[in-house]
Symmetry: D2
Subunit: 264 residues, 4 copies
């Protein structure tokens, strides 16, 4: 599936500050970058480093004043998409070392507090069937509404039963981890996101039916807006704290943002 991406944004800082950006489609086997172009304002320093789990890159800026980013890309997504509900669970002791961190609590996902809830609400299902049940429960009980701030955790969203993609993903990640299923947060581009913007979904680690004893990450979007087969990953992390498209060490004034994602 070919996806065309155009994204631009601008911000200003009042004094020389460190800013971390992550907004480009990741070059990984499941999605090929056919063409891409990125124009950025001048900065005192710009450095690139591999991002979390070696998916995508983070860009460090040391910058003063107004900074503009303009990015376009053509991406071919070639992801094997399974029906999550049919996938078996890997027992925790079968997990590879690198999946274990995605069982543990993170800034926005205090999963340990939700063990009684997931047992009570989803106790009858396991593995992928539980993930599907969690996804459907969120979809059925939440209202898509912009009420969250950078302080809003999955616990807040769970109580208030509303939020945006970031919050839907945090709640899904949290309830999956409380079920002892590794789950991570994925920032992405996807057609169909309304209003058009950067998007976020969850990924869960379940048994891979094609590899005995093996596991694989599967995209799950509780908002229902993104099709996993058309989703272009930017990066992954424990939650939004790890993979924000912009993290500022200091104060920045966000000035504009425009994102357009289309099927090619």
């Amino acid at each position: 599936m070919g996806i065309d991406i155009a994204a631009s944004f601008a911000f200003s800082v009042e004094r020389l500050s460190d800013v971390l950006l992550q907004f480009e489609a990741a070059a990984i086997p499941e999605q090929r970058i056919l063409d891409s172009n990125c124009t950025m304002s001048k900065a005192e320093h710009i450095a690139r480093v591999a991002a979390q789990d070696a998916i995508g890159e983070r860009i460090w800026l040391h910058v003063d004043g107004r900074f503009e980013v303009s990015y376009t890309a053509q991406v071919e997504v070639d992801r094997i998409v399974a029906d999550v509900a049919t996938l078996a669970r890997l027992e925790p002791h079968e997990l590879p070392a690198e999946a274990v961190q995605y069982l543990l609590d993170s800034r926005y996902c205090p999963a340990d507090r939700f063990q009684p809830f997931v047992e009570a609400e989803f106790g009858g299902s396991h593995g992928g069937a539980r993930v599907a049940a969690i996804r459907d429960w969120i979809a059925g009980n939440f209202t898509y509404e912009q009420v969250s701030t950078t302080h809003t955790t999955a616990l807040d969203s769970f109580v208030e039963r509303r939020g945006i993609c970031r919050d839907y993903a945090h709640v899904l990640v949290t309830l999956a981890r409380a079920s002892a299923i590794p789950a991570r947060y994925v920032s992405c581009y996807a057609p169909g996101v309304d209003p058009p913007d950067f998007h976020a979904v969850a990924e869960v680690f379940l048994a891979d039916p094609s590899v005995p004893g093996g596991g694989a990450w599967q995209i799950v979007d509780a908002t229902g807006m993104a099709d996993p087969a058309e989703t272009v990953k930017i990066g992954v992390g424990r939650d939004a704290a790890d993979v924000s498209f912009m993290t500022v060490f200091g104060e920045a004034r966000f000035e504009e943002k425009e994102v357009c994602v289309r099927r090619a």
Copy 2:
């Protein structure tokens, strides 16, 4: 420096549960395991995986009923310990990829909220001097007291100005990250910890004077109880959520614990 460790603990679970343990001295260049012995109760499954940053191992149990662990080790610590206050900062854009996650917010360390405080309180110092100032500020303003629970964050401890080693380490990690200095949480054994128990300290990533452009992790203990030259690392993580000596997926009743650490 030779260190002798003896640790034992026991817990019970009421139904078959997954439990993650991490309590053994890590086999890493800066500390040699001369001898070690670990006796554990039988479990349905026991599996070992590499722990975070490949420092130490995590042990998965699939277990029912009472479980006992008895561990002894002789460790030779051979760590180069610098005077933290004299070390320079690495600019964020100079950081290696793997250090970046330790700048970001985690479960117990909501660092972004402390940027105004660190600027106001420690604005005049940078790099290692700032870390030393933060350590001294905690030591001077906190009371060592057991008031924390598994929900207690660095924000809670900062407000209440008291806690145990876990909380001292969380506050130091948080204020270092708010200063754009990578900081991680280290579970460890150390002689001099009173009362004797598992211990926790912080590590910060600062310029390595012996490697131009390079950086190195330095142990900092705001409680003042552990000497970095005698500290035996068990594991590292973003905070206590990553490197608890016992993480239970389900309910466990902790039954006993005894830790003895001595200079050999």
Copy 3:
């Protein structure tokens, strides 16, 4: 209904401190104090003031060292108990001035955050029927378990789905207020509380069928342990912060407590 109460407790403070106690059966029309006896250690100052809504009394102590309280009372409860589920709601604009504060958020009851939840879960019922639905939902979804601390709010208990009488009452108060029904917290004695201890229930303000346009407070106990006809009120408040049996300005070590409540 005659109720016999015997309660005793002791605590120690390390330096001269102010302590506020509230543990005696309130002398109010719905419960007559037939006999009571209270013995307390000597204190530098002891003063009594009327408690919240003029229900019961608060006792100020200015005290050092160990302090013991021993209290017995015989109380005749003569409360008109309605079937809450049958009572109509008073519209907010019909509420008397003194009930309005019990619609508003308090320390442990952040009701405004639960408006979407109560609409989604209980939207089909109103007034007393909604209160009964909330009570039954808590009873059906919560586990009675001592996990709370003085920091635990209704939001925490709602997420973790467990707690003790204090927490059950907080959640009921919170969900009632989120439904625009005034609700307050009642500390009390009641036979049948297991393990025997001070108890806490909620009260909601609903239409009084015997007084056109009037309202009355009705006891609701989501734990199901206390019968409203046998409940002896100590005091009322916005939540547990207002009507703790002991509030210390300083540090106290609680040393013993024994409560025995029986039908006469």
Copy 4:
């Protein structure tokens, strides 16, 4: 001192909702309402009830669609203003019954958590001198900046060291209560507030030098913007939850607000 007030605001609700307003200058001995005029849109029901501590009135609306309020008043303030720093403390056991609730924790003011901080930071001062020290500490350490939401507590503001009048007042109230000094939240009009808006200050209950054994409330504004002699009280409460100028049971869209306060 004569003060002229003009305030107008408008909001919309999408379905019939209960709304509580409190925005008029309170008719109390210390401030005489010379003239006032209030124009409001039609509502299905409008009812007035006395507000907390009988200071001012709350207005209940049962309303649908857009609602507009336009209010003007001329007020003569005749308040005895003492130099807070010179006033003695009343010991808790000397407090009148109605002041006790203002020592206790409320929604936005979790005072019990700040006892170690106030002892460490302000332990050398007492009574009014401590209140003045707290006020000066806030003024010296906080930045006036709009970062708070309806969820922001004094604990959040204390950590982030910034906020608006609401947050300055919450922190002062919290630190006074942690010092065992009764403190309440006052919504008010005052000339000099910049940008012009509804304002909030704290009041503390200290010894009244003109009445042996008596106490009196004294206005303290940590923002420094309002002169107590020119402050027109709207209402008082435990914190902002009790005395918001608009509390909605449901969803409202705030549409405009204009406040102008001048010396006559």
